[in-house]
Symmetry: C2
Subunit: 149 residues, 2 copies
């Protein structure tokens, strides 16, 4: 059942499913949007701080959005996004890793309250197969109110 602004509380948590990150998809994304050598070429990556091919940080962020849409936003009346705070890439993502994570409501800033919608901030955590955190950020969303005119 669709959740509206009034249905969301700080502390609500939405666990994600899984996403397999393939070598092919890492290269495809990087070729389009982040053609730095360590995202495209194994030899160049061997000479980088990463030691081997790694996913673009924006690729990991895009994957996190897919997990968020499939496992949280699919049941929330999302109006749109305002922005992102404090995005950090804690650990690189290597080909063949399976990512998961969660979204948690961390704030409902009152200054964004309108007749039709309110602001809801979710902390996103993306984890590697060993459970360590690969990426985290806070996404600033707008959610429709139940009693929208």
């Amino acid at each position: 059942m669709t959740k509206y602004y009034e249905d969301l509380s700080v502390g609500d948590r939405f666990p994600f499913g899984e996403y397999d990150v393939t070598d092919e998809e890492i290269r495809e994304f990087a070729g389009k949007y982040d053609p730095q050598p360590f995202h495209l070429d194994a030899e160049a990556a061997a000479d980088s701080v990463f030691g081997e091919l790694v996913a673009s940080g924006w690729h990991t962020a895009s994957i996190s959005m897919r997990l968020l849409v499939d496992h949280a936003f699919d049941d929330i009346a999302i109006v749109g996004g305002r922005g992102i705070d404090d995005l950090r890439w804690h650990r690189p993502i290597y080909p063949g890793e399976t990512l998961s994570g969660s979204a948690e409501v961390v704030a409902k800033p009152e200054d964004g309250l309108r007749d039709t919608r309110g602001n809801v901030d979710f902390e996103i955590t993306i984890t590697k197969p060993d459970g360590s955190v690969a990426m985290s950020y806070v996404t600033l969303s707008m959610v429709r109110r139940r009693e929208s005119p």
Copy 2:
């Protein structure tokens, strides 16, 4: 000529080229990474706050990375990214718009200084065809030092 950490100063500015955002690419990106109705379906978008189909915010962010790599990072000895601060989507991106923008060095935080690299923060601005700002953020990068061991 490659620019190292020592070659970059606060205030240095790198103007971007242009990137055409097509309807097809908006739907392709959204289908993979952000399948919310207002990024995929014109009818659903007409009922949204956007009024018509709009690019995923993560798509705009990924495009900004391509502009950054092609017009700034191509001449800078980038080691990798630490994270993103204060990303804001100021205006939606519609199909057929051409994006541009710039990167500007806004800080060289001393606490990140190592023998091999230093931290350099760039403010990224993405503009619409009318010159208005569509998106902005600060990207926290690591840049190789000229005298790396």
